[in-house]
Amino acid sequence: MSISDQEMKELKKRARQLREDILDITFWAGGSHIGGALSMVEMLVILYDKYLNIDPNNPEWEARDRMVLSKGHAGVGYAPLLARKGYFHFDILKDFNKFKSPFGMHLDSRKVKGVDVSTGSLGHGLPMAVGLALGARLQKQEWYTYCIVGDGECNEGSIWEAAMAASHFKLTNLMTFVDRNKYSVDGSTEEVMGIEPFANKWKAFGFIVKEIDGHSFQELSEAIEAAKIEEKGPVVIIANTLKGKGVDFMEDDVKWHYGGLDSDSLVKAKASIANMYEND
């Protein structure tokens, strides 16, 4: 189904807000995993605005859809989204990572409302998402489990253990995204430890693979809707993205896996974001 113009406008507005929030929090915190937070913005925004069945006033609602951010280091991109959805007040993010803050870089499900599962150590989220999906099916619950995995994270053996299990158990109530931004910490994924041929790996593990532009709401929407009605097996959406998307001096540059912003670079970064949306 195509997205209406009005809906597209709203989604872009949300995405722009999230990108600006990520910059502000990075400035307040002194540094963050900014590159990989900016690359997954469209994925998170469309899930939370269009697809996730949730109630921010009732974060523990049993019938809610579950979301697992397996690439937990991108918490700086997840926390402001949850705040804007109404799980908590945005202003408390001014203390992000500070002494006694409930917000570490990697979000804690016992401290941050809206976070279903604590993540941060790579390769842990997808196995837990598989457990959630199995639990839902066993208890005849309709809720769905979504999981966003990093591409560098796919070096972890446990991702493939979980992939094997997801297809063995034919989990059609689990939707996996890979934020294919092409970099991990030390360099490009292909230089550090190659993961290509990536789509074929998932296929070989029994997944139905959809490869899309991860910054296109239209493509994301089509892939998600097709995945939801897929009955043959679990679906992975490989979302090709740009690390640091929206900030010209960060885009596609491994230096911005983790970084800080001073007041000058914050202004420049915000100008770049403004430019991205105003020239759209």
Binding site: R110, V117, P127, L138, Q139, Q141, S158, A165
Partner: protein, 336 residues
């Protein structure tokens, strides 16, 4: 005791700890639909397979993939279920240590881990399948409860109790026909509360797991042959530790030896030593276990004998420690 269930339906003389665990879990599963089982291709040898046969839809085999096993268990717990996970102790606490710590303990999830083949109970298999580090590792994970039942009867009690005990629980059991030291389950088993198995005033043996039954034999032997009054404490719960039982032992006997099927570092002996040190009381003390080495290969009985955690070794160690001096302090009575 859960209603409508008979807890002595198994024969502790012919069933291993794991057999009894499998039976008890099946009974628990009957009344509690939230219980699910998981293993990593060791359903048969850990005996969780009995549960799998009875409730196939509630059992998940992760294949030989322990990291995913414990990750899935965390997810299942998050969905509102109570997962019981069984594989060998060595793979639980080392291969999947981070999943147990970060996915389960950090999130304080109701995952109950029954780890088999602990200690040197699979002695013939060699170091890859021994596990003499698990108590140390599990004890250092916040939120984790750590239990080493003395025998099959106590395994039944521990498994039954852990269902309603909040948070993650690690129960380590052996493999074979370890001798029983309880006749039935009708004794005061409480997680975190030691059981005095034999009274004594000259020396205290603090034990867990298979060493409890051996200590009882040693206490009888030492009474008959040396006229010694040996207290035997079954410290089935390593964490939270029953500190009062240790403080009483210091006060009453002033000589303590710990015996465990574990490296002498980090397990029961270390936990007891911490309490003794903090008490500020003089006390002759020794901890006996695997002396910081990779254990020899052999049948468990031969290994227990070699490492002096069987009756013979205990008798010898008690005689040594009875001859040991410790510094008396004059105002001992005032301080206590």
């Amino acid at each position: 005791m859960a209603e409508g269930l008979t807890w002595n339906v198994y024969d502790a003389n012919t069933m291993t700890q794991a057999d009894i665990y499998g039976e008890v879990l099946c009974m628990l599963g009957e009344t509690n639909p939230k219980i699910v089982g998981l293993s990593a291709d060791l359903a048969k040898s850990t005996k969780i397979g009995r549960f799998a046969e009875k409730y196939p839809e509630r059992f998940f085999n992760a294949g030989i993939a322990e990291q995913n096993l414990f990750g899935m268990a965390a997810g299942l717990a998050k969905s509102g279920l109570i997962p019981f996970v069984s594989t060998m102790a060595v793979f639980t606490t080392m291969r999947a240590a981070e999943q147990v710590r970060t996915d389960i303990c950090y999130q304080n999830l109701d995952v109950k881990i029954i780890a088999t083949h602990a200690g040197i109970s699979f002695g013939q298999a060699g170091t890859t399948h021994h596990c003499t580090e698990d108590l140390a590792i599990m004890r250092s994970f916040a939120n984790m409860t750590v239990i080493a039942p003395a025998d099959g009867i106590e395994t039944a009690n521990a498994v039954r109790e852990c269902v309603n005990y909040p948070g993650p629980v690690y129960i380590r059991i052996g493999r074979g026909f370890e001798p029983s030291c309880n006749d039935n389950e009708n004794y005061d088993f409480q997680i975190g509360k030691a059981v005095e198995m034999h009274p004594g005033t000259d020396i205290t043996l603090i034990c867990c797991g298979v060493t409890v039954a051996q200590a009882l034999e040693a206490a009888k032997h030492l009474k008959e042959n040396d006229g010694l009054s040996v207290r035997v404490i079954n410290m089935h719960t390593i964490k939270p530790l029953d500190e009062d039982a240790i403080l009483s032992a210091i006060q009453d006997t002033r000589r303590i030896i710990t015996f465990e099927e574990h490296n002498i570092f980090g397990g029961l002996g270390s936990a007891v030593a911490e309490v003794i040190a903090a008490s500020g009381k003089a006390c002759a003390f020794e901890k006996i276990g695997i002396p910081d080495c990779y254990c020899l290969v052999g049948y468990p009985e031969d290994l227990y004998n070699h490492y002096k955690i069987d009756m013979d070794g205990m008798v010898q160690k008690v005689r040594e420690v009875m001859g040991k001096d410790f510094e008396d302090d004059d105002d001992w009575e005032d301080e206590v």
